[in-house]
């Protein structure tokens, strides 16, 4: 009873305010152009941060964000092979259909290259946020590492012209 009373008093005299987290801290979707510090079109990891335990697998989705008139991409992702092991690369959806044009190259340690082309009878290209691939990693060592897009990455329109890429987001992996 005394404890309850003490809690009540503390509430009245001290605990009269709630912690309200700022919007900047809670609105952190890497695909939200209003909250990120890079311009579009950009290559983005979704989510932007991965908190995983040692040995556990996680899936990093690769997005072409804010793209317009996109037909195909060539994405090169770099990671720390001492801390992460690439387990699988899945088609994200840009390359759709029964015979999708979706290639990956994982021969170089610490790098994965993805080529995906959009083929559809409805339209020649796509706009907006498009998931290109799903990278499945597992952590092999404790610590932080990053996932980075290399400058060789490309976005192409239906006429095979390069689309200027204005931003490259970074993914952060915290293995505990």
């Amino acid at each position: 009873m005394k404890k309850i009373y003490a809690i009540f008093l503390i509430f009245v005299f001290l605990g009269c305010e709630n912690d309200v987290t700022g919007l900047d801290d809670i609105l952190d979707n890497p695909l939200d152009p209003n909250e990120v510090d890079y311009e579009v079109p950009a290559f983005v990891f979704y989510p932007a941060q991965f908190d995983v335990s040692l040995g556990a697998s996680f899936q990093a989705e690769v997005y072409a964000m804010g793209a317009e008139n996109l037909r195909g991409v060539n994405v090169v992702v770099e990671y720390d092979p001492n801390k992460l092991a690439l387990e699988n690369v899945n088609n994200g959806g840009l390359a759709a259909g029964t015979n999708p044009i979706f290639f990956t190259d994982t021969d170089t340690p610490g790098q994965v290259e993805i080529v995906a082309v959009y083929i559809s009878s409805d339209s020649a290209s796509v706009d907006g946020n498009i998931k290109i691939a799903e990278l499945v990693f597992s952590t092999t060592s404790i610590g932080s590492s990053t996932l980075d897009f290399l400058q060789e990455c490309e976005m192409l329109d239906p006429d095979d012209n390069l689309i200027e890429i204005k931003g490259f987001a970074q993914g952060v992996v915290n293995a505990q």
Binding site: F11, V12, F13, C16, E17, N18, V20, L23, I26, L27, D28, N29, L31, D32, P33, N34, E35, Y46, P47, E61, Y63, G66, G128, N129, K131
Partner: protein
């Protein structure tokens, strides 16, 4: 022979009554003249004088109907016969010795009555009387009653004078010490004193002081408490010149007490009121009972405070002595529960006010917290959808929701701060108030005392906590 003697006695008595009646002067009263007063009211007032003059037994009054009959025969109306000549003429026709006439006027908010009795035979004015009354017209009824006595040369009775003074219900009363049976004489006297005080507080009786009564009792050769019979009480009452005497007894049977009291008329000896009370409890409780009895015996409703006192019972004096109320006690109680210290000090209104407002503020604070929690849940849900969204449209939709809820959250949080800060402020205020308005009879209970210590040669501050 005895029968004959009785008849003779009756005859003599009848003759003497007739003679007695014949010696009284005969009087007729004309309806008063009204000036600024309603005619029907004037008639009623004139009629009141006729009735009251009959009560004086000083004159033989000619009935109103006889006056009206004569006037009708003369072709006059009472209201029209205002001159002395007319009145004298009517008086002669009625065969009365004296006529009474007068007028009732109104000046502003005051009424005036002028009244005259004059000899029909000589026309000489025998007596004139006048009265002024300020107030309602109904007050003239008493004035007319008093004038009825005064115009025939008599002093108005005390009851009428008291009535005029607005104390018509006032009676003169003397109280004899209650007889104690099973309680000490001092206790009986103390209770009688309290009974007398309570009687006086009704404002319906005029009390004779104990000292005056004791003087009369001593003159009669009685010691205190010896005059207990009705005869003795009536005799003392007559000597004191009071209308009523009250006597009684207080008895103890086992743990119960009985109080019997009787009020009787000194002039007739008839019991006006008899009351009794049975009470079980501490002897101190008799004080409240006897106070209530004082009201009961006058057929008055006791004051609410007295009834409440009876319901609450007698205070525990020993406990009160052991636990003296202090300002610090009030302060600490109010610190624990707002208003509790004020209750302790007896300021119920303040206590309820502090409690009520404090509860209201705490309730509002809780309500704000509840609203905040609810909004927080809504925001978490919207945030989860926002985080899970990958399409631009969904991101914008859920981001807008999060922003909107955030504004409400801020508002709820501000309200929470306001109400809880107010509650805390009021709590502190209530503590200060409890201390300041705490029991005033204990200034020594100030929790902080400052004194110079001559040994250590320094001023010392001492904090005392006293529950």
């Amino acid at each position: 022979m005895a029968m004959l003697n009785k008849n003779i006695s009756t005859f003599i008595l009848f003759i003497s009554i007739l003679i007695g009646q014949n010696t009284k002067p005969t009087v007729a009263i004309l309806d008063f003249e009204g000036q600024g007063v309603d005619a029907s009211e004037v008639k009623t007032l004139s009629e009141r004088m006729r009735t009251e003059i009959g009560n004086t037994n000083a004159v033989r009054l000619i009935e109103r109907k006889a006056v009206e009959k004569i006037m009708m025969e003369q072709g006059l109306q009472q209201s029209g016969c205002t001159t002395d000549e007319c009145a004298a003429e009517v008086g002669q026709l009625l065969g009365v010795q004296f006529m009474i006439s007068g007028s009732i006027g109104k000046m502003g908010k005051s009424y005036t009555i002028d009244c005259k009795m004059f000899s029909v035979e000589t026309g000489e004015t025998v007596r004139t009387k006048s009265a002024t009354h300020k107030g309602d017209v109904s007050g003239l009824l008493t004035e007319m009653e008093i004038l009825a006595w005064e115009i025939v040369g008599l002093d108005a009775p005390q009851r009428l004078k008291l009535k005029r003074a607005g104390t018509d219900a006032t009676r003169t009363v003397a109280v004899l010490d209650f007889e104690g049976r099973g309680i000490t004489m001092q206790e009986a006297q103390t209770l009688t004193d309290r009974f007398t005080t309570s009687l006086a507080s009704t404002d319906k009786v005029i009390m004779v002081e104990r000292g005056t009564m004791n003087d009369v009792l001593q003159e009669q050769g009685f010691d205190a408490g010896e005059c207990t019979s009705d005869e003795c009480a009536a005799e003392v009452g007559a000597m004191l010149g009071v209308e009523y005497m009250i006597s009684g007894s207080i008895g103890k049977i086992g743990n119960a007490y009985t109080i019997d009291a009787k009020m009787f008329s000194v002039s007739t000896g008839a019991a006006e009121s008899m009351k009794n009370i049975t009470y079980a409890g501490a002897v101190e409780g008799l004080i409240i009972e006897i106070e209530i009895l004082a009201w009961d015996i006058l057929s008055l409703d006791p004051p609410r405070a007295l009834k409440r006192k009876r319901n609450q019972g007698i205070p525990d004096y020993s406990a009160a002595g052991a636990k003296r109320k202090t300002k610090t006690g009030a302060l600490l109680r109010s610190f624990v529960v707002p208003g509790f210290g004020q209750f302790y000090s007896g300021s119920k209104l303040s206590a309820y006010s502090f409690m009520g407002v404090e509860l209201a503020l705490i309730g509002l604070a809780f309500n704000s917290q509840s609203t905040f929690n609810s909004l927080q849940s809504d925001q978490d849900a919207a945030l989860a959808l926002y985080d899970a969204s990958t399409s631009q449209a969904d991101i914008e939709t859920y981001a807008a929701q999060v922003v909107a809820i955030d504004a409400d959250l801020q508002a709820a949080n501000d309200q929470l701060m306001l109400f809880s800060a107010s509650a805390a402020g009021l709590w502190a205020l209530n503590v200060i108030h409890a201390f300041i308005t705490g029991p005033k009879d204990d200034l020594a209970s100030l929790p902080i005392t400052v004194a110079y210590d001559p040994v250590k040669k320094q001023t010392r501050v001492q904090w005392t906590v006293d529950f």
